[in-house]
């Protein structure tokens, strides 16, 4: 495929002009892939790694002397490390998929309530051996990451429970250490290994071609839009007024379900448009007019989300709350359709057999 689209319209560098031979086309794919890697993916994982290191530090401080002020600080760090996670959650290829790291950071949705049962059992067992890094890594994914930590930190009686049971606090510490180790692993592997894999994607190796790597970035762009719409909103709202089930929302205990979505969308917009001024970004592979439509959809969606509180429950409590969320759903649908239509105007396809199920 030739980069005949936004590159050209933007009047960019000469080597990006019409009708390149195949090898130059591969260079263009690689240029996009590396721009996304360097300006979006690695900075986001670095932020996450740093924030989760701080989370681990504050967990240790809190458990040395658990009090109300310390819990508030712990909760703040929970939020400030969940924020960067929500801003890179859309990348579901590469190192995040190693060793079940993605599920271990954030096992959700948990439709069977597995996390609650397993966390209770783990705490009741009071087994110190489980808390070593190696052993905890092979515990159920449902007790290893953010949802389990949220349960420990945001229950009504979290402070007294953590004060009254040092092992419970140790479990919280262990989860923060586990998340921190995983995010360090993901960041390090992107920097040390996977960036090179992306850079050399036009040679035989992990990727089939540089274009193949671009498709993984495009899947990270498109598929989360539908997933956010369906899993994070429609499943919670139910089919009609009165059918809402807030406890199905992501991060409902910490009252940040809609903050998650707001950050998800800002991150997806960042993925689309890039974070530097090089002019090369993921949207470069699409037609200029499609890029404009999609950016307009992002703008409207961001405006709607910015007007909502962080909490799903709080949003539903006000008049018109459900309607506001239904509007967000409609805007997500519009964005998804626009992305699909834009891809259809290229030779890029995200999946066929892989979506089949036969």
């Amino acid at each position: 495929m030739k980069f005949r689209y936004a590159f050209i319209a933007a009047g960019l560098t000469a080597n990006l002009l019409i009708a390149q031979p195949a090898d130059e086309s591969a260079e263009n794919w690689t240029e996009v892939n590396l721009a996304v890697t360097d300006s979006h993916v690695i900075p986001a994982y670095t932020s996450l790694m740093q924030a989760t290191q701080e989370l681990e530090t504050i967990a240790d401080a809190f458990c040395r002397s658990p009090d109300a002020e310390g819990l508030a600080s712990f909760q703040d760090k929970f939020h400030s490390s969940m924020d960067p996670w929500q801003q890179i959650q859309h990348i579901q290829f590469g190192p995040i998929t190693y060793f079940n790291w993605n599920f271990r950071i954030h096992y959700w949705p948990d439709e069977q309530g597995t996390g609650a049962r397993q966390l209770d059992a783990l705490i009741a067992a009071e087994n110190q051996n489980i808390l070593s890094s190696d052993n905890f890594a092979v515990e159920s994914v449902a007790v290893q990451g953010y949802p389990a930590l949220e349960r420990l930190l945001f229950e009504a009686d979290s402070l007294t429970s953590l004060q009254g049971n040092p092992y419970r606090c140790q479990v919280a510490q262990t989860i923060t250490r586990n998340i921190s180790e995983i995010t360090r692993g993901v960041q390090t592997r992107w920097v040390d290994e996977f960036r090179t894999t992306v850079a050399n994607a036009d040679e035989r190796g992990f990727f089939e071609s540089a274009e193949d790597a671009t498709i993984d970035f495009l899947k990270a762009q498109v598929e989360p839009v539908r997933r956010i719409q369906q899993q994070k909103l429609e499943e919670v709202l139910g089919e009609s007024a009165g059918r809402e089930r807030v406890q199905r929302a992501e991060s409902w205990r910490s009252d940040r379900s809609l903050r998650n979505i707001r950050l998800n969308i800002l991150a997806l917009e960042g993925l689309f448009n890039g974070a530097d001024d090089s002019g090369v970004q993921l949207s470069s592979v699409l037609l200029t007019e499609d890029v404009a439509t999609i950016n307009n959809d992002f703008t409207e969606l961001n405006a709607s989300l910015a007007a909502l509180p962080d909490s799903f429950a709080e949003t539903l409590e006000v008049d018109g709350g459900r309607e506001n969320l239904e509007q967000v759903i409609a805007q997500l649908d519009t964005l998804f359709e626009a992305l699909e239509a834009a891809l259809k105007n290229t030779d890029l396809y995200l999946g066929f057999n892989s979506l089949d199920g036969d």
């Binding site: 035989r204 992990f206 193949d212 396809y349 999946g351 892989s354 089949d356 036969d358």
Partner: protein, 384 residues
Amino acid sequence: MNIDRRQFNTLAAGLLSWPTVVAASNKNTGKPLFLSAASDGDDRHWVIGFSTETGITKQVFKHQLPARAHHIAVHEALGVYLVIARRPGRYLWAGDLATGKHLNTINVPDDRHLYGHGVFTNNGKNFYTTENAWKLINGDSGRVVTWQADRRGDTFTLERLEEYPSYGTGPHELLLKPDQQTLVVANGGIRTHPDRGREKLNITSMQPSLVYMDAGTGDLQDQYVLKADYHKASIRHLDQNASGLIAIAMQYQGEAFDRAPLLALHQQGKEGKGMRTLWAPEPVQGQMSQYVGSVRFDNSGRYIAASCPRGNMISFWDTNNDSLVGTVRSRDGCGVSAVDNGFLYTAGTGRIVWYDLATDQVVDMGSSLEDKVFWDNHLSILSV
């Protein structure tokens, strides 16, 4: 395949530019002829025949189908290929192998649907399909149906003869053992209903099985299941080598992070203990993404290729030691056929790729022929 294949590759690099053996066996005979179902961006569905010439694929025929198809059964002596509708479709679309032209369309009864697979007997007199008696809400609704095939000139007919239980739910691919007396059936275990589209209705209680049954009477000979922990590993696709070793491909319906078998081997009569599961070392087992789409033995009968379209790779295995030999990245790659030196595989992206098993060479054979299409799950071959 040499253990030190990588070193050999270095020596061999650049020597091969296309699959010479495939090309050599293609001289003016139209063979091997590859057949696959495909779809396009306008949601039209096709059967396409193509050949390979000096590394370039060439379209031989292309016909539009009434709906999406799945596997294509081929019988050379009858000169017939038979396109089988993807579930919950009901059509069998017959074409002429020499010209590609449409001969007949046969539908299964209103209260049945196909599962996309079927197999001819070697003598071409009979054809078998897997079907769903979907009105049976309880109990095993899987069926194996015997058809009588008849080709006279431009007339091809299939007469529905007998209907047997598949001894399970959701039967998918089926084979006739080399002796032609025994059918091998992959019961996927998943209950579906045409009114509910492709929704899976029984994941928590599903029970896949591998069944051997008498092809003449439908009597059950043997039935094997995996251990209870793996009851969500839906047994879908099969192949066999000349000695009757069955390769079994699965699609796991449990959690993405579970570790469940996706491949197994079995030989009737030799291994009463059940299926031998095959496992790839991590991270490959995880990268298979709980889903094998198609499985085929190579022409030697020793190696198998198992496609993982969700994991974007084709995996290769040695059945002598039940181990993974290697993998090749293939975005949405699924259809696989054995060719002289290895495998040809097709992808949902439209790519057609030849893989040389001995030298680990990958050769891009072009993409989608004359128009952009997405190749469907299975690739059939009419060999020399």
